[in-house]
């Protein structure tokens, strides 16, 4: 199951004997065959490899090896692999890990083994809240930022009455709850909720209930195939033509690609990265796509790149890989990379950066493959994420 990729292991003759070589082993742990395989999967391995190349790790005397494995979105599988990697395979850093329950499990193992965990794929705010860890950085996004971005922006535009279609499990409930708070704080109200079994196929019944409620916005507090189905069917039932707005609370660009613009158009969503933001993201994404069957990167892929890059900078700065030094350096040193822009890592392990509110283009507006988003607003880093004192992280209370 574990595929090994020997990376950048060749120091040049010039280098040999001069600088002290540091060996780093990075484990990319994510879903390689299930529902999140497209948004994380092999793409995250490619992104990690690109970070190592762009950092010129070999020239700086850092030998990096990248390995990867499939956690099947199961917490028990994830923690077993993490344990084996740390104990037997000499892994120093685990990255990615979508699925919140699996991410929390890996965070726990990492703390126990005193290594470093940079999460890009999971959404739960618990990673930097009640279950925060001195060894974990939550890199790319979280449910608070999604709720804040999409929820806040929609209410600001005058869409104050909400109806939620929610996946009936922990993730869906927390997304619904976070968004409800944002909506109510901004003066809006929640008109009703339909909680559907996970996974679901037919959403027309809930859409009809949402339509009957007269809400301005239908908030989709679900993910992956459920969201795709709900949006596809909303288009069919003419929900948006009738004046209601759809808000996807967790949508990745791979979902938009699966929907097609005909069905996805006008959807409002929040992400921390889009390939077509500026020249640098475009250049990087095109290099990425070449290695990924022409598919553009998701924000999770971008987060893996950004996280690995920051980690390597810390390795260079500390000239070693002592975990406590690395963690404090990563938190002191501001983050800056071409993909997620400028930001920093907070005491609670939350990496903050600007988030973006996008609207999906119509087929007429789109000029080609993967030209999907229009930028509506940039949410500044300090507003996008949950305030430090509200998370209940013990690392913050100490200070």
């Amino acid at each position: 199951m574990t595929t090994k990729l020997l990376m950048a292991a060749f120091a040049t003759t010039l280098m040999a004997g001069t600088a002290m070589a540091t060996d780093i082993k990075i484990g990319v742990l994510n879903d390689r065959s299930g529902v999140y395989a497209d948004l994380s999967g092999e793409g995250s391995v490619i992104a990690a490899r690109m970070a190592v190349e762009d950092f010129n790790a070999a020239d700086k005397g850092i030998n990096v090896e990248i390995i990867s494995a499939d956690h099947q979105n199961k917490p028990d599988v994830a923690s077993n692999i993490a344990r084996q990697w740390y104990d037997q395979d000499g892994v120093d850093l685990i990255v990615d890990v979508p699925t919140s329950s699996a991410a929390l499990a890996v965070s726990e193992v990492t703390r126990e083994k005193d290594k470093v965990f940079i999460n890009s794929g999971a959404g739960s705010t618990a990673l930097t809240g009640a279950q925060c860890s001195p060894n974990t950085i939550h890199w790319t996004y979280d449910t608070y930022a999604l709720a804040q971005g999409t929820g806040g922006a929609m209410v600001e535009q005058g869409n104050s009455d909400w109806f939620f279609i929610t996946a009936d499990y922990a993730f869906g409930h927390s997304l619904e709850e976070e968004t409800s708070k944002v909506v109510e704080a901004a003066g809006g109200q929640v008109m009703g909720t339909a909680r559907h079994p996970f996974p679901g196929t037919d959403f027309s019944s809930y859409l009809l209930q949402a339509q009957a409620s007269g809400a301005d916005v239908i908030g989709l507090a679900n993910a992956g195939g459920d969201t795709v189905n709900a949006i596809k069917q909303a288009a069919e039932f003419g929900i948006t033509q009738a004046g209601q707005n759809l808000a996807g609370l967790l949508i990745f660009i791979t979902d938009v690609n699966a929907l097609g613009l005909e069905a996805a158009q006008d959807l409002v969503l929040t992400e921390s990265f889009y390939w077509d933001l500026n020249d640098e993201t475009r250049a990087w994404s095109e290099r990425f796509a070449e290695q990924n069957d022409g598919k553009m990167p998701t924000m999770v892929h971008a987060g893996v790149y950004s996280g690995v890059l920051h980690y390597l900078k810390a390795v260079e700065a500390t000239e070693g890989k002592a975990t406590s030094d690395l963690m404090s350096t990563m938190k002191e040193m501001p983050t800056d990379d071409p993909l997620l822009g400028e930001g920093r890592v907070r005491e609670d392990g939350r990496k903050i950066h600007d988030m973006y509110l996008f609207q999906v283009k119509s087929p007429e507006e789109s000029t080609g493959a993967w030209d999907y988003y229009e930028l509506l607003a940039t949410i500044p880093a300090e507003e996008a994420f949950r305030p430090l004192e509200e998370g209940g992280c013990e690392l913050v209370a100490q200070q």
């Binding site: 497209d38 027309s204 809930y206 596809k232 069919e236 699966a258």
Partner: protein, 295 residues
């Protein structure tokens, strides 16, 4: 205006109609399963994968060859049905003399392999497939907005279901088929090629699944797991209707769609289990299913 259990009657009509639409898919899929089980005694666990193949082949025809939805309705069942015939000839036909369990395990394994192959090539997020222009839009019925496509699904499903029932229960060919399941050697003695008839029947059952897949492509997410999500419910439908009963599968399919639709209004959280609760109750009271013949 009066209300029924807190729900305005108009909303209720809407939900009943939606239930009927979902029931169309249940009916089409369970019909294929019932035909295969009734005539071959094979529990075809690959049915969900074949439904998924139907949707994918429709997407491939459109994307690679520019074949539109209407031609797909005709071509996809033929293509996927042909793969079913190959499977039957190469593998399934070797298991007829064994217990049901072997057929179930074989087809289950095939389903996993087929899904794995599609996942490998096309990923898991799914592929876009639009509603054909002729069927987009909808009609306002007063109590709900009925998309034209959904109406089409109900009509198409009713025609196919009734046609199949008629062919099997009311025609000479159907009589041969039914006779061949009762006593293959006797029917063979009359000069009828029983193995070929069985092969074609399996192909037909698979073609029904593929047809359901084409019908589903524009409204459900086209992804490798789409059949796996649905097949368990469809099996419950077949069990409730009575294994192998054609009419039972059709009526139960539509009926359960409606029941599920109602549950979604009153208590959506329970909608996924409603079908299984009914299955358990039916099995307790009538173990052979509502329309099944007691052995």
């Amino acid at each position: 205006m009066f209300e029924l259990l807190g729900i305005p009657p108009q909303a209720l009509f809407g939900q009943l109609l939606l239930g009927l639409i979902n029931g169309s898919f249940y009916a089409l899929l369970s019909l294929g399963l019932a035909v295969i089980f009734g005539l071959l005694n094979i529990i075809n666990f690959a049915h969900g994968a074949q439904y998924m193949m139907g949707a994918f082949v429709a997407w491939m025809l459109l994307t690679y060859l520019g074949v539109n939805y209407w031609w797909s309705l005709l071509l996809v069942p033929l293509v996927v049905g042909a793969t079913g015939i190959v499977l039957e000839r190469l593998m399934i036909s070797r298991l007829y003399h064994l217990d049901h369990l072997y057929g179930l395990l074989l087809t289950f394994g095939l389903a996993l392999i087929i899904q794995g192959l599609f996942r490998n090539y096309y990923g898991v997020s799914g592929l876009p497939y639009s509603i054909p222009a002729e069927l987009s839009g909808g009609t306002n019925l007063g109590f709900m907005f009925l998309p034209t496509y959904r109406g089409w699904v109900v009509v198409a499903s009713l025609i196919v279901c009734f046609g199949t029932w008629f062919a099997i229960e009311r025609t000479r060919l159907g009589a041969y088929l039914r006779a061949a399941t009762e006593n293959p050697s006797l029917v063979g003695a009359f000069g009828i090629n029983v193995p070929r008839m069985i092969t074609l029947t399996y192909g037909f059952g698979v073609a029904l699944a593929a047809l359901a897949g084409v019908l589903a492509a524009p409204i459900y997410s086209v992804n490798p797991n789409m059949g796996a999500d649905l097949i368990i419910v469809v099996f419950a439908v077949v069990v409730i209707g009575g294994m192998g009963s054609i009419l039972g599968a059709i009526l139960t399919g539509f009926g359960l769609g409606i029941v599920e639709g109602l549950v979604k209004v009153f208590y959506p959280e329970a909608s996924a289990v409603a079908v299984f609760v009914i299955m358990a109750l039916v099995l307790l009271v009538k173990p052979a299913g509502l329309f099944g013949r007691t052995a």
